[in-house]
């Protein structure tokens, strides 16, 4: 099983959710994060003094998935999240050693 961590632009979340649903993936966990990277922060003025906003709002999506679904999932996310503009984000895939469903105690494949 794989753990997909995708950092995307906030307004693409709905697209990504739909794209994943389209290939049968419903389960996911999302959170508000701040990103820093190539996409530069902007300079603001507050009460006459400048400051740089270094971190931009992003959304992090976490999806645990089986190996066989992995590539489909990655493609779905990438396509749905892409705007072509800098700052579109990254997708990381990490290995999962074990998965458990809290409600039933089922593990791994059955737990999703």
């Amino acid at each position: 099983m794989k753990y997909i961590i995708a950092i995307i632009k906030p307004h693409r979340l709905e697209h990504v959710r739909e794209a994943l649903a389209a290939i049968g993936i419903e389960g996911m966990t999302v959170s508000e994060v701040k990103g820093h990277g190539r996409q530069k922060g902007h300079t603001e003025v507050y009460r006459g003094a400048e400051y740089v906003v270094n971190f931009l709002p992003k959304v992090k999506i976490e999806v645990a998935t089986t190996e066989d679904m992995l590539d489909k999932a990655l493609d779905a996310i990438r396509e749905a999240a892409q705007t072509g503009q800098i700052g579109d984000g990254k997708i990381f895939v990490l290995p999962i050693e074990k998965t458990i469903r809290v409600r039933t105690g089922e593990t791994d494949h059955d737990a999703l």
Partner: protein, 450 residues
């Protein structure tokens, strides 16, 4: 200048002397009888007191709107509200007041020129002259100005979350300096609508609220809905407001201010009858608001199985607008009825606008425009001095004029400097795009929230 407890003592004595002596021999021609002064004081106090309540409504609109937009657009909405109140104050001095009230005759507008405030000593002295107005000119201006500002407040809510700051403010300049004063001159300025049709609009259901509403509607049509509000399939995607506590606070402020709005429109408080009328207006105003709120409360529960607080707030406000055209004549139960229909209007018109893909962020069109029309048209039912025809002519005339002129101005603004932020800016939020100061930087997506 001293201000101690004894300072005034001297002045008081002096004044007493003047008055006492004044009723004597030598100064008899100059002295203004104390009773006349008392009447002048009461009427002026009425304008000041009720005026500051209406001024306070500016804060009410600001809070209501700040609560009903998303957090990324809150600073913008607040800025617009502070700015429009300020602009109304300046424009209504520069040209608005006299365009509305001076030299209208029975015509279509007055003379656009700056107001000047008389010297208090001179004004007081002039009271003994025949035909003297029985209130301070400054207090009248103040009271009229806050009405003008209210009109502008109405527009800002509908167009929220997508309009650029400066075109909005330019429109406000025209609205407060020209459009509202012209419409006002027809009726309150003694123009054609008053003279020829006996149009009756006690505190401005049409002149203030519908005027604001028509201008907002024109703007909403030219501007288009917010991104993502309407799906291509005709679906409606609600965009919840960010802060119900502010929206409720704003509504309570407006409710409070409305006592001044309607009560002060009696325009005088110098007799038992006048103050009794003001008291009756307070009661009817409150009854209509309560009825509007309770109606929306019950209807949202019945129709949607949950009580939508934003509709309840809109219901209270629609009740208030409904009673504004005639808050004096109705009996208490009639005021309840008039206000309750305001609540029904909100329930019907809010989803209707969505069907028409007219995106009215805070519900200003149902509340101010439609309930304003309702309130105006129902006046003859309680006030025999008004006629159905006169009311109809007034409603239509104001509608056609304000809507057309507003449409033209919005189009001109659109064609020249543009009225809408870019798609990217709309997504990012107007605060980041145009204000540069976030409303809640440490919460949610705020830049200081890490």
């Amino acid at each position: 200048m001293t201000r101690n407890p004894f300072r005034y003592f001297g002045a008081a004595l002096a004044a007493t002397t003047v008055l006492v002596v004044g009723s004597g021999v030598a100064m008899a021609e100059e002295a203004v009888p104390f009773d006349t002064q008392v009447r002048f004081i009461f009427n002026t106090l009425n304008f000041l007191l009720m005026g500051f309540l209406v001024m306070w409504m500016a804060a009410g609109f600001a809070m209501l709107e700040a609560g009903l937009v998303r957090s990324k657009n809150v600073s913008m909405q607040l800025t617009k509200n502070v700015a429009l109140y300020s602009i109304a104050g300046i424009m209504f001095w520069l040209i608005g007041y006299n365009l509305m009230y001076t030299g209208v005759g029975d015509g279509y507008f007055g003379t656009p020129m700056p107001v000047s405030i008389p010297d208090p000593a001179a004004e007081a002295k002039g009271l003994s002259a025949e035909g003297a107005t029985m209130y301070a000119a400054a207090s009248d201006w103040f009271f009229q100005m806050v009405f003008c500002a209210t009109t502008a407040s109405i527009v800002s809510g509908t167009l929220a979350e997508r309009i650029k700051l400066w075109p909005f403010l330019l429109f406000t300049v025209v609205l407060t300096g020209v459009i509202y004063p012209i419409v006002g001159s027809w009726e309150w300025g003694g123009g054609w609508l008053d003279k020829e049709y006996g149009f009756s609009d006690f505190a401005g259901s049409t002149l203030v609220h519908s005027t604001g509403g028509w201008a907002a509607l024109a703007g909403a049509l030219v501007l288009g809905p917010r991104l993502g509000k309407y799906g291509k399939d005709g679906s409606v995607h609600p965009i919840p407001g960010s802060n119900m506590a502010l929206a409720t606070l704003g509504t309570f402020i407006l409710w409070l201010g409305w006592f001044g709005f309607n009560g002060g429109s009696q325009l005088a408080m110098d007799s038992a009858e006048n103050v009794s009328a003001i008291a009756r207006i307070f009661v009817n105003t409150n009854a209509a608001a309560a009825a509007g709120a309770v109606t929306a409360l019950i209807l949202t529960q019945l129709v949607y199985r949950k009580v939508d607080i934003t509709m309840v707030l809109n219901g209270a406000l629609a009740g208030l607008v409904s009673i504004t055209a005639e808050p004096l004549a109705p009996s208490l139960p009639w005021a309840v009825f008039v206000g309750a229909i305001g609540g029904v209007i909100v329930m019907v018109v809010v989803p209707l606008l969505d069907k028409l893909k007219i995106d009215d962020v805070v519900g200003a069109i149902p509340v101010h425009l439609i309930a304003g029309i309702w309130g105006t048209m129902i006046v003859p039912a309680s006030n025999s001095g008004a006629s159905f025809l006169g009311q109809f002519v007034g409603v239509v005339a104001v509608g056609v004029f304000v809507f057309t002129v507003s449409l033209v101005i919005w189009f001109i603004l659109k064609a020249t400097i543009g009225i809408r932020v870019s798609e990217e800016e709309e997504i990012m939020g107007l605060d980041a795009a145009e204000i540069g100061v976030e409303a809640y930087p440490e919460f949610g997506k705020g830049s200081q929230a890490i």
